[in-house]
């Protein structure tokens, strides 16, 4: 019976590792300039965690097999050095693992979060609120009008609380429900939340960044492939969370300019 358990352990371990090792579950195509570093990091992490998992399971199966038919009253023997040494070794192994992942990973992370965007990056503001994303482009003057939360009037499409009556800079601001961007140009997304915590997640961009009420956060990225991708909220934000989404529309520079002109005329 004990030996059968050992065999089942090995089968479960190998069967779990198989789809990972053969890449059955693939990530969607990466459409960003920084995404390959994130993908490499993900496979490094998966490989490291996978080998540790397999190793642990096989060692466990080996001991189960070896001691499955131990006679009652047989002498127990400890690992040389006792429990203390074993815990110390485990600490060192796990510590080294976490440290290695951290050192390797900080590069991918830092590329996205700890480098400033290029000076000519296109600035777009993103606002998350229950339960929709809205985006704002600065318009012809290149400046965002000030935000007045008391002026928010959703029935009138004033999602950001602009005051066009008194604030000239806000008059040409373009507010949209989809995030259209030109391909191969860096985007600097300025993010704020209107109410509670939300998250901006585009799988293909390999970006997931929380919106935190009261904080002005930002991410920057360059999309390399024309197409339409889904932006979803990945921070449980209330009843309509499941339906909180928008679309990222990556366009050619020409199409983007046309789109922007069209949207400007609708404001």
């Amino acid at each position: 019976m004990g030996k059968l358990f050992a065999v089942i352990l090995v089968i479960i371990a190998l069967a779990s590792a198989y789809p990972i090792a053969t890449h059955v579950f693939v990530l969607p195509e990466d459409i960003s300039t920084h995404g390959h570093a994130i993908d490499d990091q993900l496979s490094d992490t998966m490989a490291e965690a996978g080998f540790s998992f397999l190793g642990a399971q096989l060692v466990l199966a080996f001991f189960v097999w070896k001691f499955a038919e131990r006679k009652a009253g047989a002498k127990l023997s400890n690992i040389p050095g006792g429990a203390k040494l074993m815990v110390a070794i485990a600490f060192i192994i796990v510590g080294a693992e976490v440290f290695a992942l951290g050192v390797l990973g900080q590069k991918a992370w830092a590329n996205v979060y700890f480098t400033p965007p290029r000076a000519d990056a296109l600035q777009i503001q993103a606002q998350a609120g229950q339960f929709a994303f809205y985006f704002r482009y600065p318009g012809a003057d290149g400046k965002f009008g000030a935000i007045h939360p008391d002026k928010i009037d959703e029935g009138n499409q004033n999602y950001f609380g602009l005051d066009p009556a008194n604030d000239v800079e806000s008059r040409d601001d373009i507010v949209t429900g989809e995030l259209a961007i030109p391909v191969d140009r860096e985007i600097h997304l300025l993010m704020h939340a209107k109410d509670v915590g939300h998250s901006f997640y585009v799988r293909e961009l390999r970006i997931q960044q929380d919106f935190v009420p009261g904080l002005d956060l930002s991410v920057h990225f360059t999309a390399t492939k024309i197409g339409k991708y889904e932006i979803v909220c990945t921070q449980l934000c209330g009843l309509g969370h499941y339906n909180m989404k928008a679309y990222l529309n990556v366009m050619s520079q020409d199409d983007f300019e046309k789109w922007l002109k069209q949207k400007a005329s609708e404001q």
């Binding site: 029935g155 009138n156 999602y159 429900g177 989809e178 309509g240 339906n243």
Partner: protein, 236 residues
């Protein structure tokens, strides 16, 4: 033979009742609501987040905070008798507030205190109706596609903004009124308040963006009096 006489009698009673009801039992106030100045531009609604609704429109529908018609006509103005008429019991017929294409139809729904209100959802998506009363009881209900209407009533007079918690662009108004003398102006700005017994009335016109105006009118006999309202429009 007897049955025939019976039918004839019923028919006669029905005809008599219809004639009695159709005859104006009092005076009428009618008129037009217009604006002067430049109203705010109504913006196309971006429904890209809800493709099942967006695809119902060839060109995106616009916001409805100011709806105008030809000759400066102002629509969606609730014109009602705010003083001079007694409070009335609610009619038994329910009013319907429909959600279709991720919009509220009608945008402004007027009905009476304690009258049954039915909120229906014709869309393939869930809505979350959230009326925002200040003096009535507030509620906030989710309505998945294909579910029965939400039924409710309000026991106090109030103009109640209504929003959808899932689709931020959806906005409408419940106008809960104390008597049956009300009318919501159409695209031509016209309204009509019939069946007013002789007396002195205060007529109020309410618009969601421009506030309200009142005028006094005295009705004697079955005359028709015209009352016009002009709202000042601002571009922003």
């Amino acid at each position: 033979m007897r049955t025939k006489i019976g039918y004839a009698a019923i028919l006669a009673v029905l005809i008599a009742t219809t004639i009695a009801l159709a005859r104006p039992s009092g005076g009428t106030v009618d008129g037009k609501v217009t604006y002067e100045g430049t109203p705010a531009k109504q913006k196309p609604i971006d429904m890209s987040k809800e493709p099942s609704c967006a695809k119902q429109y060839a060109t995106p529908p616009t916001t409805e905070t100011v709806v105008t018609g030809p000759n400066n006509a102002l629509a969606n103005v609730v014109v009602y008798v705010s003083a001079g008429a007694p409070d009335e019991a609610a009619p038994s017929q329910a009013v319907v507030f429909d959600q279709k294409g991720c919009r509220y139809i009608p945008h402004v729904l007027a009905f009476q205190v304690n009258q049954e209100l039915k909120v229906t959802n014709e869309d393939q998506t869930s809505h979350n109706i959230h009326p925002l009363p200040k003096i009535n009881r507030e509620w906030n209900k989710s309505q998945p596609p294909g579910t029965p209407p939400i039924v409710d009533k309000y026991d106090k007079m109030e103009f109640i903004p209504v929003k959808c918690n899932v689709h931020p662009w959806m906005h409408g108004t419940f106008a809960v009124l104390k008597n049956s003398h009300y009318s919501v102006s159409g695209d031509d700005g016209s309204f009509k308040l019939p069946n007013l017994p002789p007396g002195k009335y205060t007529i109020t016109a309410w618009h969601e963006s421009y506030g309200e105006q009142t005028q006094e009118v005295t009705i004697s006999g079955s005359e028709t009096k015209s009352v016009n309202f002009v709202f000042k429009a601002k571009p922003y």
